[in-house]
């Protein structure tokens, strides 16, 4: 990896030899003394540290909000990083003015984060819709205002934009500048960034000559990706770069920076983004294939993926904030092996397979067979996950994702569950059910699926299925809920899946015992 990290910070090119795992937050605040970006929690839950990341896509720049507290500065290389200071214009933007008028700021600590998230939304949205604007601020917490003034402000500005949008202007940034929503330097950024990227490549070539790394040590772009909760501890595939005792691999960083934030800058790390190509989502015959470094947002924004799974966009909003979805990868979520990983639960119900291996030895494995125990995977030393694929859903397939947690958005599930269902004349022909938070691993409810296959959908069928599912799971009491609660919740979510599609067939009130549980016995139903 190149030692010098070069990027554009607001309107200025910056160079640093910082450790690549230094968080962008610390760099911005401590080295550049830009203090508008705040540290609130260092775990991606408050959004006070939000910044905008602009990535060149050849002709234009794609912008997105990220949590700078979970963002390795190495990943800023060749990018445009925008902080609150880079959003300010002379005077106030209409959103800033609205916050002022509507009481959308009180103590002011969280406010820059909201302004940044909202600006990122304006830079990236297809259309300006109030609900989407609110979703873009799901990852920002304000403890003072109750968010009411912020919501009013968003409504006012979305309305203002829709009334004044100049449809003739091709460039997004230019239109926003015309509406006083962005400073004018943004127009010069694309050229500046293209130049910077070329310079970076030149420096890289220079450095390579003297660098320790050898050509054949570099993983070929798009071929391989390894993550285990965004990290892989020193399994040294292909003698990847400098072999060291412990080598941290960082992809999205949304988990490892939470767990080991202080430690990373003392370790050798490799940023997967620096050696991998763009995420790839393809249709290969009758299957959809997704490279492991694909983020949730990549899936949300992929028109191809939206054709395949039009439900996904809505579902994904339950996975995490916009900032987290912009960074969290499918490989990370699966290899983290968390029993409640939302993406894992979703793709279990798609009966997905993954491809993992090393060098030229690759194998396919059903995702549901990958999880062997708590945080234990069927993965040999050195093996890495490259991609995930699943059969294109049948056009009549009914797909459902359910998640219950303390707070609907940006929270970790107490129990989550997904279903893929195909029926012929109300007889279940194919069903895949998954559940999270109900055992040491993300679960595929095998016996429940077997029982349901060939059955007609009815209240009694689902009730029996729920009883079987209860026998398959082994939840424990923890911070996400008691075991008793999780058992009850899974039953409820199984009903919820079917109620969505067969409300008339499942009248839960026919059974007056629906809400009576026998708490004396372990048998709930």
């Amino acid at each position: 990896m190149r030692k010098i990290i070069r990027f554009i910070l607001n309107d200025e090119i910056v160079e640093t030899q910082a450790h690549p795992a230094l968080t962008l937050l610390d760099f911005i605040r401590k080295q550049k003394h830009l203090t508008g970006t705040k540290e609130g929690c260092r775990e991606g839950d408050c959004g006070a540290c939000s910044v905008i990341l602009g990535e060149s896509n050849g002709s234009y720049i794609r912008y997105k909000a990220v949590n700078s507290c979970l963002f390795p500065i190495g990943d800023a290389d060749g990018k445009h990083v925008v902080t609150i200071e880079g959003i300010n214009i002379d005077g106030l933007t209409p959103f800033q003015q609205a916050l002022l008028n509507e009481g959308g700021t009180q103590c002011g600590f969280c406010t820059p984060g909201f302004v940044v998230s909202f600006a990122a939304y304006l830079l990236s949205a297809d259309k300006f819709i109030y609900a989407d604007a609110i979703d873009s601020m799901t990852g920002n917490l304000c403890r003072c205002t109750g968010h009411t003034g912020i919501r009013r402000s968003a409504e006012i500005v979305i309305d203002y934009i829709n009334r004044n949008w100049d449809k003739t202007t091709f460039h997004r940034a230019e239109s926003l500048i015309n509406l006083n929503l962005l400073p004018s330097y943004f127009t010069a950024v694309p050229d500046k960034l293209s130049k910077l990227i070329i310079e970076n490549e030149e420096i890289c070539a220079e450095e390579k000559k003297s660098c320790l790394q050898r050509e054949n040590d570099i993983i070929k772009p798009g071929i391989a990706l390894a993550e285990s909760g965004d990290m892989l501890v020193a399994e040294r595939p292909n003698n990847f770069f400098q072999p060291k005792e412990e080598l941290f691999w960082i992809s999205g960083g949304t988990d490892i920076f939470v767990q080991k934030g202080d430690e990373l800058i003392h370790r050798d790390v490799n940023l997967l983004s620096s050696v991998l190509a763009e995420p790839v989502i393809t249709i290969d015959g009758s299957a959809c294939k997704i490279s492991a470094n694909t983020t949730v947002a990549d899936l949300e924004n992929s028109s191809l993926f939206n054709q395949i799974l039009p439900q996904f966009r809505e579902i994904a909003r339950l996975f995490g904030s916009q900032q987290i979805r912009n960074r969290a990868t499918i490989g990370g979520n699966i290899n983290n092996a968390s029993p409640i990983g939302d993406m894992t639960i979703f793709f279990l119900a798609m009966n997905a397979k993954i491809i993992l291996g090393t060098g030229n030895k690759w194998r396919e494995l059903l995702l549901k067979e990958y999880f062997k125990g708590y945080k234990t995977l069927d993965r040999n030393p050195g093996e890495i996950m490259k991609s995930l694929f699943f059969r294109l859903p049948h056009k009549r397939a009914k797909i459902s994702f359910e998640k219950v947690c303390r707070r609907t958005y940006l929270d970790i599930a107490s129990v989550n569950s997904a279903m893929y269902l195909l029926t012929d004349n109300d007889i279940i022909s194919t069903i895949h059910l998954s559940s999270g938070g109900t055992g040491p691993v993300p679960m595929y409810l095998k016996s429940t699926c077997e029982y349901l296959t060939g059955k007609a959908v009815s209240y009694n069928t689902i009730k029996e299925a729920a009883r079987i599912a209860d026998g398959e799971i082994s939840p424990i009491s923890d911070i996400r809920g008691s075991a008793e609660y999780k058992r009850l919740l899974l039953r409820q979510l199984l009903f919820a899946h079917f109620l969505k599609f067969f409300p008339e067939k499942i009248n839960t009130f026919k059974d007056k015992n629906f809400y009576h549980r026998d708490t004396e016995n372990t048998e709930i139903f």
Partner: protein
């Protein structure tokens, strides 16, 4: 007040990210960083502390323990029962034991991992009732009583008994606790910190160091949120930074990271309560007995004062002639619980609201029938003897019922519930009454120092701390109003103990009231001086002169004396253009022995109607709307006051719904991060929040007839609990759910599906 719609000009810097918080200040070169090493156990005897490994860590400059305290090792406010650094025993997980000073915070944290402590564990108490059973108390019980409950119960048609539980609440100020101590000459220190109480930091630092108060300058610019969590609990961190700075004579910065902040600091007190309520068959409340078991944590902190407010607010906004309220500060092995917006008031009110809802079920009435029947009227006495004055309880209630059409809401809810099976709607009315003043009468004092500079710009210093409540803007408005100048000419300075001394904490919603009055008086002094001077200049009677729109008017006609001309001339004529004034709220007194007095300058009233939608399949819910008539008095800044109401409401909703603090049986905080402790996000905000300012509310007790706004609206959140419960009731009409808050989705679902026999 001329311009009630004035925006908070201080917010301009906020929205641009230009407002500075403690961690944003440029620090002098050579600044050192402090990290606190705290007890990993909740109760035990320290058998050994080994700091050698940590001291040897590269970059570490010093490690301080209690042995390095030159003065007294004591930070207790009301009761001297809290050590700054543990000596030989620890009483809660997170109790400070040592302070690591290093070149960077990261380095100090690494070194902290090398400190070894050997603690002989003792049994830890985590629940108030356990502490009560074991006789573990902070102080003796407090009682508020009026009438004769025993006698009265015999005359009631119905008497019910029950228990109610309310949970703790993490402040989650977005800016964590933070302090910066700077050495000054002669062994003096300047401490800048994120505190609601700079004077406490001045006094306690001096006591800990064994030096006089005038050697400590304590300053605050602003807080990134406080909510009570920085009233007493900002102190240890500032004092620790001061201790290190005193020894090392180097600037020392101490900023708690979120994790440390969450497990080392106290929260809102959880309460467990028993009640007995007697009433007539029409629902008229006759007698009320209640016992509050407050989980105080390991040291007093503000617990006794908080308990006192629970007692004084135990009847909320209702008149009950016979009351006996008993409160116990139960000492447990949790971090000392502390002030949190509402200060025990919400906990007290929750119990009576629970009792009323239970009574309504017993009588087969809607709860609002009982509520409205018992609202306070003019001249009614509270259990502490004070009588209502300008009572707005009934006005707020009837306006809310009329404007929002309660009848219609009830019908809509009922018709929705008749046609929907798995989704149910519920509603509740929540009237409030909240007393304004520090219950410790002496604290109801404030000072202000106002300068007019020769260019006509004005500088205001008070004891008020700006923490998002807009007090700086309000003080500017006060000066601008008196002088009739643009508020842009007025600046609110930092809060600094060398400019205004012996300040009270900015708390109890009184910041703008007390400090505003002091500023008003100081400005009036200056105004009189200037008018006398102007009368000489213009050879006119003082009584014929007035300042209007930055100009002197004589007998209603503009003169040549503009504001700036007046000030320039006054300076050259040697007129003193500085005034210090002092305000002591009149008429407040309270006798702690008898539990009687006039503890509050006035009361704030309001009524909210809350509607909730419960998904009875999943046990989740949404608060759909909150509509309130709130008594703002005569607000002089509508934008600030409205957003205060919105923010307080939302914290109340969070307290009652998703915010749940969990300690394990050993007293270790489990909800110790933002991924585990959830507060309302932008999506949880009700789709409809309507706030009407009660019209014609007069309040001569406060600045410009306004009323304090910080705390009261939080208590509307209690209505959300009952709205959710009301919806759940529609799903299981026969059930009598327990009265335990918060009603997080787990509690909701388990209650919805509880076996019939398990429900009382």
């Amino acid at each position: 007040m001329k311009n009630k719609e004035l925006k908070n000009q201080d917010s301009i810097r906020h929205v641009r990210g230009e407002s500075l918080f403690l961690d944003d200040f440029s620090v002098p070169e050579g600044t050192l960083y402090a990290v606190v090493f705290a007890s990993p156990e909740s109760h035990g005897i320290i058998r050994g502390l080994d700091i050698t490994g940590a001291l040897a860590h590269k970059g570490v400059k010093a490690i301080f323990t209690y042995k390095d305290i030159p003065g007294v090792n004591q930070i207790g406010g009301i009761i001297k029962d809290e050590e700054l650094l543990a000596v030989d025993k620890v009483e809660f997980t997170g109790q400070p034991v040592a302070l690591v000073i290093a070149e960077s915070a990261e380095c100090a944290r690494e070194a902290r991992n090398k400190i070894k402590i050997n603690i002989e564990k003792l049994e830890a108490i985590t629940e108030a009732r356990d502490a009560f059973a074991k006789g573990s108390f902070i102080t003796s019980p407090q009682i508020f009583a009026c009438g004769d409950t025993e006698e009265a119960f015999t005359k009631c048609d119905v008497v019910i008994e029950g228990t109610a539980e309310s949970g703790g609440q993490e402040h989650l100020y977005l800016e964590t606790q933070a302090a910066l101590a700077l050495p000054a000459e002669g062994g003096n220190l300047k401490i800048i910190s994120s505190t609601q109480n700079p004077t406490a930091i001045q006094r306690i630092t001096a006591d800990v160091l064994g030096i006089s108060y005038n050697k400590i300058e304590s300053e605050v610019l602003r807080l990134g949120g406080g909510f009570g969590g920085k009233e007493d609990q900002a102190t240890p961190w500032a004092v620790l930074a001061g201790l290190a700075c005193y020894h090392l004579r180097k600037p020392v910065k101490l900023v708690l990271n979120r994790h440390d902040d969450m497990y080392m600091t106290g929260k809102r007190h959880p309460y467990s309560s028993d009640y007995k309520l007697g009433f007539s068959k029409e629902g008229k409340l006759i007698a009320y007995e209640v016992s509050f078991y407050q989980n105080s944590g390991a040291a007093a902190d503000l617990s006794t004062a908080i308990l006192e407010r629970s007692l004084s607010h135990c009847t909320n906004t209702y008149f009950i002639p016979n009351v006996k309220a008993t409160g116990y500060c139960c000492k447990t092995n949790l971090p000392p619980n502390t002030a949190f917006r509402g200060f025990g008031g919400p906990q007290g009110m929750f119990v009576l609201e629970s009792a009323i809802h239970k009574a309504a079920k017993r009588l087969g009435l809607e709860p609002h029938v009982i509520q409205s029947l018992n609202l306070l009227k003019e001249g009614d006495a509270f259990p502490y003897g004070q009588k209502t004055e300008n009572c707005n309880a009934g006005k707020c209630w009837s306006r809310a019922v009329e404007k929002y059409n309660l009848q219609h809401i009830a019908e809509e809810v009922s018709s929705y519930n008749n046609t929907n099976k798995l989704y149910k709607k519920g509603y509740a009315v929540m009237p409030i009454c909240f007393g304004i003043s520090f219950t410790q009468t002496a604290l109801n004092q404030a000072g202000a120092l106002v300068h007019i500079y020769t260019d006509g710009s004005v500088s205001i210093s008070t004891g008020a701390v700006e923490m998002g409540q807009g007090v700086n803007m309000k003080l500017r408005q006060v000066a601008a109003e008196i002088f009739s100048i643009n508020a842009d000419l007025v600046k609110s300075e930092t809060t600094n103990t060398t400019r205004v001394a012996n300040t009270s904490a900015t708390a109890a919603s009184t910041g703008a009231d007390l400090n505003g009055k002091a500023v008003e008086q100081a400005c009036r002094n200056l105004y009189s001086r200037l008018m006398i001077f102007a009368s000489q200049q213009l050879s006119a009677e003082v009584s014929s002169l007035e300042l209007k729109d930055e100009r002197i008017y004589s007998a209603g006609k503009p003169t040549e004396l503009t504001w700036s001309e007046l000030i320039t001339r006054a300076y050259w004529s040697r007129i003193d253009m500085t005034s210090h004034e002092y305000y002591a709220a009149p008429g407040v007194f309270f006798d702690r022995v008898t539990g009687k007095g006039n503890p509050f300058a006035y009361h704030v009233y309001g009524t909210a109607i809350i509607e909730a939608l419960v998904d009875c399949l999943r046990g989740t819910y949404k608060i759909e709307s909150v509509k309130m008539i709130h008594d703002f008095g005569s607000s002089f800044n509508n934008v600030i006051d409205k957003s205060q109401a919105e923010g307080a409401l939302m914290q109340g909703l969070g307290w009652m719904t998703m915010e749940e603090i969990v300690y394990n049986s050993e007293g270790r905080l489990i909800t110790n991060s933002l991924s585990a402790y959830k507060v309302p996000d932008i999506n949880f905000t009700p789709d409809e929040i309507d706030i009407e300012f009660l019209s014609d509310s007069v309040n001569p007790q406060s600045i410009f007839n306004s009323k304090a706004i910080g705390e009261p609206p939080l208590m509307y959140g209690i209505g959300a609990y009952f709205a959710i419960r009301n919806a759940m009731q529609a799903y299981r009409p026969e059930a009598d759910f327990d009265y335990t808050a918060p009603i997080a989705p787990e509690r909701a679902l388990l209650n919805l599906y509880k076996k019939a026999e398990a429900l009382k």
